[in-house]
Amino acid sequence: MLSRTADHLFWMSRYTERAENTARMLDVNYQTSLLPQSAAVAQVGWEGLLSISELMPAYKAKYGEVTPHNVMDFMVRDENNPSSIVSCLHAARENARAVRGTLTTEVWETLNSTWLKLAGYLKTKDFERDPGAFFEWVKHRSHLSRGVAIGTMLQDEAFHFYRMGTFLERSDNTARLLDVKFHAVESDFYGAASEMDQEYDFYHWSAILRSVSAFEVYRKVYRDVIKPECVAELLILRPDMPRSLAASMNEVVVNLKAVSNSHSAETERIAGKLRADLQFDRIDEILSTGLHAYLTQFLDRVNNLGSRISRDFLMPSAA
């Protein structure tokens, strides 16, 4: 298939996934802020949300002080913020439009309808009245477009690039989400001494679980109270947890293999090694080196993998 087409498909799914994850993070912070005892926790959460997306400078320049209303505004409807939900869904739709002929009618219409309805959504007061319902809607639209793609697309190269984009983005987003505590309180992993910190910890880790729809999963898997090391293990190493780093990298490797070409061997090796590390790492080892250091390195490796995929498939120099 055309490299440019593959590139659009790859980014179409990345932006859809990013919009969903932004909605997830915003939703959790919003829900947390509704609990009176955790206002301070929520504040830390809003700041962390901006930090992990590396958006604090842009936000500060525009709004100054971090307030829930402004963060929501910035992350939902600000067209100048490339990570806002509006920007992501627009980018997803424009990428889809550029290759609409490669998509099934259903996939294209789903993305286009999402974009058209979003414009309507933001025009009314519905979003302000009930942000939770809006985030739910964004998540559902993402589920829908993924489901429609899986249910209707031929499983050819186009499909594999589409899937690769989804899971590369997801691994990045989940890693950032786990790293949020470091950004928020700039403490080490085991830094919880005071009572307030303990309270913070519980809300923090349960919020993270909820943001990836894993709260019930956690209970089912561990049958235990919320323990940071178990949360980390679930979201990093469990291959059966659909939003974990291990599960995401499994999908990246499988889809990469399916589109393998004459000069992609090194990229496949790098992806395979990243997956192998996740397969054989242990959570206590990871934590002993430090979660933040581990995640920083992981994000670098994912980023490098993304660049290599671009170079090998999506933007080959003139032959």
Partner: protein, 479 residues
């Protein structure tokens, strides 16, 4: 003088034409609110499907997007089978002659030698491409996809006569609307298609692919066909994507193509792949920055050389514009007689050419009654509709014509036929035209009908979508 009018549906306020009786009866039974709801439904679907076109520099009401819907009218334009049969024969004849003419222009120029078309009309024409001299194209076919604009106007007795208004032999567009309009009608009113024997059009993409493959270079046993688009911000992008998808071929942009060892390749995820046939929706000027406009990023450097060597086919060929120019239009009936030895089946509109002193005098004396067109204008721009213009507009045009007489032609103001159309206040007659799409490969063929465009403004004769025109489904009614 009593101006004759011709309505496609109503012969008189009391009498519906025979081929419309079934439909008119059905329409009369439809409650107003149901039809309203259908209109809203159609618009919603067109938006969701993204059947839009971009207007250059335009903003929508939010000041954001530039994507507009082309208004779709619910009332079909119906043509009886016997009329279509003769129109079809006329189209085959006309397009065949036009292709012979283009081949002649770039080879022996017999028609000039015969004194039928003045040499300067061809060589001074900006659309004449000297690069094409002596180049042989597959099958000798230059205009593979032709859009012929046909209008109907009443003769002295009030009978409708078809006229060819314009030939479009470069990159005619609109066929996707023909197909989508039909799909929409069948979705909104399936019962109509059970009651009426409407000739199907949905096989157009198959015919198109067959035609494109038929003109592939000799070396390509299994030719790779692509559609070349200027990109997603082009006004007809929807159509480019649509046709590529329907044919199951790649939709490429200039940046996806490159030339190596005198062949054209596209960049794919598995390395370069040779391209054999390019259905290009990019104008000649932008095709090859090395040969034509050097700043163009829409084409592919070196494409012309590959083309001239016969290693890739461009559809349409380079240089077809020499035959669809308004200054060449008046000669088409003569071409048909010259190349085919036949009498033209389709009428030309009588045309006065500014370049002939007698005819210029007539044009200047009758500006208020004539339609005056720039010979190189397109899309309804650069024209004067005398009877609908103010004195000041006429005087401005007079100056323009006097300054450059050979740049203009004039035609009597045809009273274009009308068709009942939904407007703000109910149903009213609006002027229409018809663009059938003629495909020339091994044979000349087409799907029955074409795209009917309708001027939605009351009294307006301009049907172009860029100027507020809409579309209708076109029915060829089998007896």
């Amino acid at each position: 003088m009593q101006i004759q009018k011709f309505d496609e549906m109503n012969a008189s306020p009391q009498e519906v034409r025979a081929h419309y009786t079934q439909y008119a009866k059905w329409l009369a039974q439809q409650p107003e609110d149901v039809m309203q709801a259908r209109r809203a439904e159609a618009e919603m679907i067109f938006r969701r499907v993204g059947i839009t076109f971009a207007v250059y520099g335009a903003k929508d009401e939010d000041g954001a997007g530039t994507e507009r819907l082309i208004p779709f009218d619910l009332i079909p334009r119906v043509i009886p089978a016997h009329e279509w049969k003769s129109m079809e024969a006329g189209l085959v004849q006309r397009v065949t002659a036009l292709n012979r003419f283009i081949h002649d222009v770039y080879h022996g120029q017999e028609i000039i030698k015969a004194g039928l078309v003045p040499a300067d009309q061809i060589f001074q024409n900006a659309q004449f491409r000297p690069e094409m001299m002596g180049v042989d194209v597959p099958g000798g076919v230059y205009s593979i996809i032709s859009g012929i604009d046909i209008v109907r106007a009443p003769d002295a007795k009030g009978n409708g006569e078809y006229y060819v208004l314009e030939d479009n032999l470069r990159v005619p567009s609109g066929v996707s609307y023909m197909l989508e309009d039909r799909k929409m009608m069948m979705r909104l009113f399936p019962e109509l298609f059970a009651q009426n024997r409407v000739a199907p059009v949905a096989h157009y993409p198959d015919l198109l692919l067959e035609t494109l493959r038929a003109v592939s270079p000799a070396h390509a046993a299994q030719p790779t066909v692509v559609v070349l688009t200027p990109g997603m911000y082009n006004s007809a992008y929807f159509e480019h994507a649509f046709l590529a998808q329907q044919m199951g071929v790649e939709l490429v942009e200039g940046q996806d193509l490159f030339v190596k060892d005198n062949f054209v390749y596209m960049r794919t995820t598995r390395g370069p792949k040779r391209v054999d046939v390019i259905y290009r929706r990019v104008d000649d000027d932008f095709l090859d920055p090395l040969a034509f406009r050097p700043t163009s990023t829409l084409g592919c450097a070196g494409l012309l050389d590959v083309y001239r060597s016969g290693n890739v086919t461009l559809c349409n060929a380079i240089g077809t514009g020499v035959a669809d120019d308004k200054s060449i239009y008046p000669y088409v009936p003569k071409m048909i007689e010259f190349y085919l030895g036949e009498k033209p089946i389709l009428n030309n509109v009588p045309t006065y050419m500014g370049r002939n002193p007698d005819e210029l005098k007539y044009i200047l004396a009758n500006l208020k009654d004539l339609v005056v067109k720039e010979v190189h204008g397109a899309g309804g721009y650069g024209m004067l509709v005398g009877p609908a213009s103010t004195q000041a507009e006429i005087e401005d045009f007079r100056k323009a014509v006097e300054a450059n007489p050979s740049g203009y032609i004039a035609q009597p103001t045809l009273s274009l036929s009308t068709c009942p159309t939904y407007v703000e206040k109910g149903i009213a007659p609006r002027h229409i035209d018809l663009r059938p799409f003629v495909l020339s490969g091994k044979t000349v063929q087409m799907v029955p009908g074409g795209l009917t465009r309708v001027a939605l403004k009351e009294g307006s004769l301009v049907v172009n979508s860029s100027q507020g025109g809409g579309t209708k489904d076109t029915w060829i009614l089998e007896a």
